[in-house]
């Protein structure tokens, strides 16, 4: 019975090595899945942790591991059947000198054993399949939830707040969340399996021979010790290599994107050489890492092979009578010996599976860490919880006439600097107000305030005597808005225009062309290969800066029932021709609406009915630092 406590030590060692790279105790604590979210509910601000399983999910993963373990342990039954069927062979052979055995006996025995093995086999496969399905579905659920949480933070974050770059956000939502899948699906169940199966095998072995059990128990824990030693080196090497890979594929992509530039400067050949060199460096680096990684799995193989070999030799010599020790009294029979030998490989199998899944663990943990750092400041997305005003019922309010807008003693600060301090402004219905001022004087903040993207620190912004944030959901559907660098979205040009309207069913082709005409974009769309159906890539791909601006203006013009027009530097960095078209379009759109145009382009003055200069108004253009 020495086997059991030593096995426990072995398991402990295994677990330690499993966490060998997580240096701080904290991380080890967090490893216990499911316990994390208990104390810190998502609303308490710790919601930055994405991709953690909830209680039910970690239970499911453990259940999958247990199912796997049971399926594994059923091998003990099968091994028993095999040994039982074959157990009488040597006796018969040694009794009847030249192997004349009663055939009926053997075949009958074999039939029973084979039937038993087959039956257990079906059960094992069923259990394995079940475990796999459970683990897979659970992992998928965790992934989907992580995605949903990331996206809900993104949707809740005010557009005026800081946000990760589009590339980083997209990579997190796709690749990083994808990395969680293999971790939960493969690694977590293996952990449970590793705790149960070797223990069971050692126990079953120990029933007949404590030496056999001892061989397993000695070989088993040595594996994680050596693997951990090698693994530490492997980890450092693999991290640098991982960075190298990211750099390599990034730079390849970069160069393919800039191919035309490279061609025009005759730099293709040079670049090819650079890429070849980088690829070669990457290859040697990868091989260096892999060699270490392979070494660690080789240690595993070595000990498991040696363990099996030792068992075989021990059993063989016992049967020969050369070794008398190791059993609980009496000599080891052939059936017992065979049984021990059959069990040995299964002792090591979970270890190997664990080691194989270890890679997934590294990827999953790294991904989870990255997800947690995506939104570094928790305030970013918790603060403007009313930014979309969803908690204020707006059903009773209607916006069918140009609204009046009032700023009452509004103070807004960014980065400890006042943008507005006790700012007052009244915008009459129907007027076209030009807000001038140098960059940084708060033009964008003013428009954000009206749209409810920005809540004032003190004071109130009112639209038709209602708080801006409260009316925002309605207002945003009734506004014509043209930003500084408008963005078009993936989809056809038509789909982009239709984004402006709630129900696209009532929109005719004529309406679209009318809007395009107003924006001076008619000719440009006619020129496109598929007209309105032309697909636009990311970032309005395929259109020039000026063309994007025109299409964005057409999109804005689709809102015929809008009561308010807000434009933020609509002519910034435009050539005269486009600027003239945009101004003309805006002039038509301002008619019959309350309009606020933020600009420092004097050309826009001709369409305004009133003009204010934020700097002259006593707003803190230079930014007064808090006392």
């Amino acid at each position: 019975m020495h086997g059991i406590p030593i096995a426990t030590v072995a398991i402990c060692l295994l677990n330690l090595s499993g966490r060998g790279d997580t240096k701080r105790l904290m991380t080890i604590k967090r490893e216990k899945i499911g316990t994390v979210l208990e104390g810190e509910g998502q609303d308490s601000g710790a919601a930055a942790a994405f991709g953690w399983p909830d209680k039910g999910e970690s239970r499911s993963l453990k259940r999958a591991g247990r199912l796997l373990a049971v399926s594994d342990l059923l091998w003990i039954a099968q091994a028993g059947l095999i040994s039982w069927a074959l157990g009488s062979l040597p006796m018969m052979f040694s009794a009847a000198d030249d192997g004349q055995v009663i055939e009926g006996d053997l075949t009958g025995l074999a039939f029973q054993a084979a039937a038993g093995i087959a039956l257990v086999a079906v059960l094992r496969v069923f259990l394995q399949n079940r475990a796999e399905t459970v683990a897979r579905q659970t992992a998928r659920a965790i992934q989907s939830r992580a995605r949903a949480e990331l996206l809900s933070v993104a949707a809740r974050t005010s557009p005026s707040a800081e946000f990760p770059s589009s590339g980083a956000f997209a990579a997190h939502v796709t690749e990083q969340v994808d990395l969680l899948g293999p971790y939960y699906r493969n690694f977590e169940p293996q952990k449970v399996r590793l705790r149960l199966v070797p223990l069971g095998i050692v126990a079953a072995t120990a029933v007949f021979s404590w030496v056999g059990a001892l061989i397993l128990v000695v070989c088993g824990p040595l594996i994680p010790v050596f693997m951990a030693l090698i693994g530490m080196r492997a980890k450092a090497a693999s991290e640098t290599q991982q960075e190298e890979l990211v750099r390599l594929s990034g730079s390849l992509l970069d160069r393919i994107r800039g191919l035309e530039t490279l061609t025009l400067f005759g730099a293709i050949e040079r670049t090819q050489r650079q890429i070849a060199d980088a690829g070669e460096r990457f290859r040697t680096g990868t091989m260096r890492v892999l060699k270490i990684a392979f070494l660690s799995s080789t240690v595993l193989e070595l000990f498991s092979a040696l363990g099996i070999a030792f068992c075989a030799v021990y059993v063989g010599f016992s049967l020969l009578g050369e070794i008398q020790a190791g059993t609980w009294g009496g000599a080891l029979t052939f059936a017992q010996g065979l049984f021990i030998l059959l069990l040995a490989p299964e002792f090591f199998a979970p270890l190997r599976a664990y080691a194989a899944a270890y890679h997934d663990r590294a990827g999953g943990l790294a991904a989870r860490k990255k997800l947690a750092t995506l939104f570094p400041s928790q305030n970013t997305y918790r603060n403007p919880k009313r930014a979309d005003g969803s908690d204020v019922p707006v059903g009773s309010i209607s916006l069918s006439r140009p609204p009046a807008i009032q700023f009452r003693s509004v103070s807004i600060s960014h980065d400890e600097r006042y943008v507005f301090k006790e700012f007052d402004l009244t915008i009459e219905p129907d007027e076209t107000l030009l807000v001038e001022g140098p960059s940084g004087s708060g033009k964008t903040t003013l428009i954000d305030g009206i749209l409810g993207f920005q809540e004032p620190d003190s004071g109130e912004i009112q639209v038709n005597d209602l708080t801006a944030t409260a009316i925002a959901p309605l207002l945003r559907r009734k506004v014509i808005w043209l930003g500084q660098s408008p963005r078009l979205f993936h989809g056809s040009l038509k789909a982009n225009l239709l984004r402006a309207v709630d129900t696209s069913a009532a929109i005719t082709e004529d309406d679209l062309w009318q809007a395009l005409r107003l924006a001076g974009a008619e000719a440009l769309v006619q020129r496109l290969p598929r007209g309105l159906e032309t697909p636009l890539g990311e970032d309005g791909f395929g259109l020039s800066v000026g063309e994007i601006r025109r299409v964005a203006l057409a999109r804005a013009a689709m809102r015929k029932d809008a009561v308010l027009l807000l434009a933020d530097e609509p002519t910034a960095s435009l050539d005269e021709e486009t600027a003239a078209d945009v101004i003309e379009g805006l002039r038509k759109l301002c008619d019959g609406r309350t309009a606020v145009i933020a600009t420092h382009d004097p050309a826009l003055r001709k369409i305004a009915s009133r003009r204010i200069d934020l700097k002259a108004l006593g707003v803190l253009a230079e930014g007064e630092v808090f006392a």
Binding site: A114, A154, F541
Partner: protein
Amino acid sequence: MRSVWHIIRTQHRYDSFHFWLGILVALLPAAAGLLLLGVSGWFIAAAAIAGLSGAFLNIFAPSALIRAFAIVRTAGRYGERVLTHDATFRFLTGFRNRLFAAMALKTNDGQRSGLLLNRLTLDVAVLDTIYLRLVVPLVLSLVVAVSLLLVWSSVSPLLLLTGAAFVLAWLGLAVWTFARSDTKTARRSDAALDAMRLRAADLAAGRRDLAIYGGLEAAADSVLVADTRLAEAQDVEDHRTSKLTAGSTLLGQLFLAVMLLVCLHEVGNGALTAAFSVGLILVVMGLPEIFSMSLPGLSRLPRVALAAGRIMHLMRRPEEVEPSQSLSVPETGRQGAVPALALEDVSFGYPGADRRVLEGLSFHLAQGEILALAGRSGCGKSTIGALAARLRKPGQGKILLGGLEIDRISEKELRRKVTVIGQKAYLFNETVAENLRVANPDAGDTELWRALEQAALAERISENPKGLQTILGEGGLGLSGGEQRRLALARAFLTRPALFVLDEMTEGLDAATAADVLDRFLSYRGDAAVLMIAHRRQELERADRVLDLTAPCGSGIRSPEIILSEFQ
């Protein structure tokens, strides 16, 4: 599937020695593993018989064998992994280079979306599956199966029959996976992943636009819709994989049961000794491990086939090669005698378009002259620029550069003679210095600073503590649009061509910046000729001559004054 085959052949051709060496070495641990089991089984059975009957048994040979197999298996596994991975990575590195070369030849396909490029780099990474997870395990399984069939056949026909039946069953499983490989689902899941990436990027980048046009919540939902589609597609794939795994495991276990039956039957017949039968049964225990090695590869096959297909598509049709005769542009002493650029009766139509953009166009650009191309958008101005830079080839007519037909100038010479400054100059995710040295790899730091100075960017760059070593980031992030344009200009200021092609250089710039950029360019250009694709007054005003492409044929070239008066 053809493309997978093609990749295998390509890798074989690339380095057939390592290709076969990897497979050969992979055989060692597999064989040693099976023999380890077999000999162990035989040994203990023989030992038991000997122990009971007191007969003599040479115990040292088998126990030495057992240890030897254990070591060969371990060392062989290590060697196999190193060799096969090395062979694969060698191939992929070379392959990546070829892919880039192939793409370089195809720049005139027009621009590609970042999405496609992204997919492409992911695709190359997927290709390692082919050799590592398909070729090696499948060859291995085949060799093991054939050798075992030989062993079984030497024992008894019944054993051979049983073994053959199960080997065939495994083969059937593999063929079933292969034949029913479901590229449709793989394509669906690729598409869903792409949609998710795109929509998430849109959601992050266009937050204000989305909040007003369509709503952020709806945008977030649309990403989740893609996630659901992805989950559905992956579920189908996973389902197949687990069916495959379950089938293979079940086969292995049933084989064990039947083998037990058959072996005992044969022992009863006297066709088989007891010890040998135990060995045979134990060998069967080791088989599933070998046969299941190809399962991951087989279940990923549709995905790999798609990736391979996309890559092969790109590598296909090698474009027309470099001109056979490499002539250099004669340096003419007589300034102005040979036009810097001449188009003679050039016509051009984009593939697939019914209308030709250019029809029988002829004009000359004298050395040192500034010629502006005017006309409304879409009249072919940019096409002329692309033709002059040999990014496109005319359907008909001749283009002469310094008196030589453009087709007959070597690539290197051509790029030295012509510099294009476009509206969308690409900035690499590298340091400022490296971005500039794209134009001239030999330029020293002083030259770089001078170029930056001329582009009025030196101050901005020197503000940064790292100076020229500042990394620009994706798409030149950190610099404003105007600054990026200036950097592109500085890059051009490191070349000394005979002809500058300005393709709407000032598009998207405000008037003051545009004028500044233009003037800086003109003061740098020296006596180089300039073909200016213009769309604003400022540009036309600075030209020696203006070619109005919208004017009726024959009266193309007019003085700037006439054109200007029409512009007003």
